[in-house]
Symmetry: C2
């Protein structure tokens, strides 16, 4: 085994920094979101996806795809959100197996109230810390890693 397998000191710094940034940023954003609007990040993602969909509704499997969630996770989570009045489930006429998930008035009100503050937090904590060049570099980096992951998935015959 060559030492190509190990990380250099620079790589270690890069890797640990990257992980720490992700963890802290997420923790901070989640905390603020919860405090200001009573929504978890999971709630928020569901509501954003629905609110961007035509008619504020989406098939469950489409939501799964958009959020990269397992279907059982989504199902459990929707049950909780439905109990809180944020979404409703409806049957699908053209495919009797399927279910639609719709935003309720309350759900729409919740996301519309939460979004501006949340976006402002993202700006304050993330974009305000970076130059436009850095933002561009990060976009390229993300795409490169995502491409790599997609290739790997294809090779090993997995679903993304």
């Amino acid at each position: 085994m060559s030492n190509d397998l190990w990380l250099t000191a620079d790589e270690q710094r890069a890797w640990r920094g990257f992980l720490l940034m992700g963890a802290k940023l997420q923790a901070r954003l989640n905390r603020e979101l919860q405090r200001r609007s009573g929504l978890s990040d999971a709630d928020y993602e569901v509501l954003v996806n629905l609110s961007e969909a035509p008619g504020g509704r989406l098939r469950a499997f489409e939501l799964c795809g958009a959020m990269h969630w397992e279907k059982s996770r989504l199902s459990h989570h929707l049950s909780r959100m439905e109990a809180r009045g944020l979404v409703v489930r409806e049957g699908c006429r053209t495919d009797a197996r399927g279910a639609f998930v719709s935003l309720t008035g309350q759900g729409r009100a919740a996301i519309e109230a939460a979004a501006p503050e949340h976006v402002a937090q993202v700006r304050r904590l993330f974009f305000d810390a970076l130059t436009p060049e850095q933002v561009e570099a990060l976009t390229t980096i993300s795409e490169a890693v995502l491409d790599r992951l997609a290739v790997e998935d294809r090779v090993s015959g997995r679903r993304p």
Copy 2:
């Protein structure tokens, strides 16, 4: 409210890409780690931190600090790991409130078996996709965002 509060199209791309990269990368690394060595990412982090400490042992609060975990999370997790024989808890002579956490032989064997493969995965999925310049840029970006978060924490009087 000015539209400074909203994200530009470029920023949206950057933000969503960044989140997606983090999520997919973590999911993939966790899956491989679990499959190859029966360790979760949480297990792995605990074992790495202990294995790098002198004598393979650390105070519980030191582990908390190193991993940015809540103490109750650590305590529950250690109970599970202790039950699996990966770590043991020992009292502390100089501070009777305290507890040491030590790697067992089995715990050390587990991390030594898992680490090379895991590092190889990180290299394959992440570093091999990036140029040295991109790695450097990412390091700078992470530090900038972490600095911003630290400043925010200080201002609002929070602990990191």
